[in-house]
Amino acid sequence: MTDLTSSGAHGRPKRLRAREGNLLGTSMALIVAILVLPPVWFLFKASITKLNAGLSSDGLTWDNYLRLFTSEALLGSLMNSVIFAVFATLVSLVVGGILAWLVVRTDTPFKGLAFVTTIVSLGTPYILYVTGWLYLLGRSGPINVTWKLITGRMDNLFDVNSLLGMIAIEGFLWSPLVFLLLSATFRTANAEMEEAARMSGASVSSTIWRISFRLAFPAIAALAIFVFVRNLESFEVPALVGMPGGIDVLTTQIYEGVQRMPPDIGYASAYSVAMICCIAVLLYFYGKISSAAERYAGITGKGYRPRLFKLGRYRWLGAAIVLANFVIVLLLPLAAILWMALTPFVQPMRLASLRYVSLKHFENVLGQSYYHGLFLNTVIVAAGTATVVMLLTLFTGWVVARRKAFGKTSEQLVTMPLVFPGLVLGLAVLQLALVFPLPVYGTLWIISFGFIIRYMPYGMRYSFAGIMQIHQELEQAASVAGANTFEIIWRVVTPLLLPALASGWLFIFLIATKEMSMPLLLSGPGAQTIPVAMFDLWSSGQSGEVAALGLIWATLMTILSCAFYLMTRRASAKTFG
């Protein structure tokens, strides 16, 4: 390969290109390290520090680790955590995966509905969603009430405050993410192989199983690990659904520790440090999968627009699945939320309650100027965060996928925040902000900063998964044509990656608009966000107003994301057209 090093007019020297790539790799690793390591350091320090009432250090201690590993509850909650995370991941993968494949790769009807479901449910704040589900599946919800009416029995059909309830709700909560990510994967899958299989006489089902599924396997496996880790780390569902039923998982232990006064930050931090070690093991396997992924690159220099499977006489089945998903993941919980928004207090759905229905909660929300400022704050923080994260992960993703200098390091660093429970990361960032030389404490800046750290792993999944699908030959061609590294990324990779980048941006934007635990700690006077206000309303028993505010907010987010979705579709049509 020495010929390229001396190439003249047409190519850039390989060594120069390699140097540029490594320079980029080193810079990205540095930037990411500056973002991620200080909170990790604070976390570790907190885990071995004894605190007094003033939250100042009273010396060092290994007590927190001792307590963690000798705690009686540890084994039980560890078991619960693993069962919860494994099965919730399966639910998300099955629901989101089937839907993504149907929508992207087949001619099923109602495709639009799947996107509507996804976009609206991603825009709906968790606290609202979970409340809606709890209501539906709860003791006095329509399902159990109907069951009791029909059977005349006193016991419930379904106890939502159980592992099963947690798994179902968490699974549904994350299936839209799986749908979004896997539809990007399926969209760029190489259809030629499927067609070759079909022409060689393979049936639809064996083509799906032996070609489509195998091709998508690295992406699915990577996603599965990602969702699994997220479920392990999640605490909304365990807290809201599990704790009332006495189901303890690891995160609810942290939550309880942090809720105490003086807060048990040391224990929570020790837990997080231990989690980082576990995740490192998972990431090792993830690395093995992704290093083999190049063999699966679908976007090559050849035309790659995938063609659709004809479902034929099974079209009704596709339609039924898309519809069922729409009803279960979107319509039912939204109906429950709407019911809450229209009634002055939470009550069973029944005719007799209709006399209470009013628009009062909506009027209250729309009439208060307090909320208008919050809307703006939230959008600014979320949009800023999404933009910075996608830019950062575009470059980092490329460095990692193309194994430039410090690629492995960058990857580990970017993935690290995944293991921070929101509240713990919030704590670390808060302490950072207090000692930071600029007056960022209590401002929107510091909330964005926390969000950027927290959502980098999410952006990375989109960018990295997208780049893995792009065969290097396109970049090599660009390089031979004289493009430098920056040009390659900006003019070759970015346009091809646009659908993935856009999905990632949208996802982070939506998830940032509903994150609650971090802004709760970081927002100062005049820098509050909608979820903080919603939490405030919710915890003061105004679930009706929460529901109204949440619905208005979800509507706004849906309009925004629809506009965004159409925009990126046009852009990607231009690129691939």
Partner: protein, 342 residues
Amino acid sequence: MSMRPKLIVALAATAWAFAVPSLAADQALIDAAKKEGSVTWYTTLVVNQVVQPIKQGFEEKYGITLNFASAPWQETSFRIINEGKAQATKADVFDSLPAFAAINAAGLVQPYISGAAKDYDPAYKEPTGLWTANIIQPVTPAFNTEMVPASGAPHAYADLLDPKWAGKMAWSNSPSIGGPPGFIGGVLSAMGDEKGMDYLHKLAAQKIANIPSNPRVVLDRAISGENPLVLAIYNYHAEISKNQGAPVDWIKMEPVVAHVGLVALTKGAPHPNAGKLLIDYILSDEGAKVMADAGYIPTDKNVKSSAPALTPGDNYKIFLVTPEIYEKKIADWTKIYDDLFK
């Protein structure tokens, strides 16, 4: 002492007649506060019920901007303690008893004796001005009136041991006075340590659901019928919902555990004078009226709660938990909760 309130009333009336600014806050303080220009309040109170009306009233009256940051007491105390540690204090004023206990333990409370609380009951203020109570928060059980007829509702602690309540009751998991520890404190103070512990062991066998939220959310579970009977909620919340038509009522299980809701000044407050002025305003009749209008129980004798039956004293006996009792007892009560009920 008995002459004092009358004198105040007379003075206030005179002041009103001549339309001079309230006597509760003296002019020098107002001037100094205006010079500071703004005040920051870290609050655990409900924003649209209480904080917004106070903000509006205060800003209109003094032309000083009131910024607030709303969060539960844990986050509020976290932030103030962390700010204090970094010598970057932003909060001037804060509220809530458990937050006070945490912040005071960190040595971050600035005493201030407010003139507005001059005629308050001495039980509602700390003599050196560390805190002044603006509301009373009685912690009681409540039940769903559609699922439980009034005759079937429990009236005494012993009734809670009835097997029909097994698996049906809920309370919050808040390690605070408004949660199980407060209830436990009430039981121990009513029955004495030995009998009380015996009772609590039996109660634990009833499998009470621990709801990871505050008393208000627990009350909603009674209203929606998730749990027909809930322990340790604030009785005025039940009253507010009842007035909206919710099928709920609270139970006078005497002595009712009650704690104070309070306001305090932060040590190192960037706007100390505006902070004092805000405390004066919250404790004044005007501030108390905001609380009463929202359905709360003010400590200010001149302002009556909107539901007279809520006011303790004549209506029911209370065991009042002050910050001093709280600081002494909360760790023990929380430990009992952890050991028996979790």
